[in-house]
Subunit: 209 residues, 2 copies
């Protein structure tokens, strides 16, 4: 006897988002934020995540305006850049991950930092007005904050700060939230990761559900 | 003032795994399972995940033996295949995701199923003795179970079944766990996803922490 299950992708999405909206506490989000938060909960498979999701007041607009103007999207990990749904992007935006660039390893050694942090040094040329998505490495988010301490460093339009884990994730996201050098979105605490980060990018890229 | 943080990758891993082992309840796992579970918790940033992690008695050995014998690793999503750390693989194993193969879209239409499910039809040639990792789509796991209902279908050596979400994830993982057509690992419930799935692959590939 074959297993029977819902095989219609659109129906699966619709039912998933309806379940999330029935179960999650989304009251403190405005309409744009709510759509982003719903998709983040969807990616995590976890109602309750919304408690940890925080947006700067103008974050969604800043990030969406940048994408619609053709801004590149910088990602700290290939799992993030590969997850972005290309057909949702409003301007065939470049999605860039420099982690595996051959210059990164020697640069990391020179900086005495991780490759994830060193990879950001290769973003400077196109960083101005971009959308930055950190979904893996706390060291990448900390290094971004240090880069932005320099007033001459180009400034992204918005930052999605969702590194995950047990060392530096909490601290780097708290630091981003306190500094807010540009409009930002974070998942407070240890939770985060590439799937949640990709979900935020995909939700900002298009309102389509 | 620059932000100060741990910049040594090895130290970050060591401290992360120590925190997980101090906080998580890992008593019911054997030594091999414990290593896999710790890495899954690490990827999720979530102590407590272990409650939902279940292994067939001989799962880690079956999956590791297959990898060491050079078996390919089949993944349902690019976020999974891209996350596998190549240098950890014991036999330069092929890591295969067929989701974006041009044959998949027409096949999905013909099957009246999702592209994620249809993509598995392209696995048959190398499926025998492989390691299968489903980290995204419940429809892929359900379709795999239906393929394996046919006694003539080639059989993987082991299945990591960790699709995530609100429609079919719970049901497909319960179905895998009940049937156990080959040794399997699941994350029961809605939780799962590419990061947790990749963590399991990376832990099986090498005991190195």
């Amino acid at each position: 006897m074959p297993y029977e299950y819902e095989t219609n992708g659109a129906a699966i999405y619709k039912q998933s988002f309806a379940t999330i909206r029935a179960e999650a506490d989304l009251a403190r989000f405005d309409a744009d934020e709510e759509q982003v938060a719903v998709r983040m909960i969807h990616a995590a498979g976890m109602v309750g995540l919304e408690e940890f999701v925080h947006f700067s007041p103008n974050f969604v607009k800043a990030a969406r305006d940048a994408m619609e103007a053709g801004a590149p999207i910088f990602c700290d990990a290939r799992m993030v850049s590969e997850g972005v749904t290309r057909f949702r992007l409003p301007a065939e935006n470049e999605v860039i991950c420099t982690l595996h660039d051959e210059r990164v390893r020697p640069l990391a050694e020179k900086m005495s930092n991780t490759r994830s942090a060193a990879a950001l040094e290769l973003w400077r040329d196109k960083l101005e007005g971009s959308v930055v998505a950190i979904g893996n490495a706390p060291t990448a988010l900390f290094h971004l904050l240090n880069m932005l301490e320099d007033p001459d460093c180009p400034r992204p339009a918005a930052i999605i700060g969702c590194p995950v884990g047990f060392v530096g994730a909490v601290e780097s996201k708290d630091a981003l939230w306190e500094a807010q050098p540009v409009p930002s979105c974070i998942v407070k605490g240890r939770l985060g990761g590439s799937a949640i980060t990709v979900a935020a990018i995909n939700a900002i890229a298009s309102r389509a559900e």
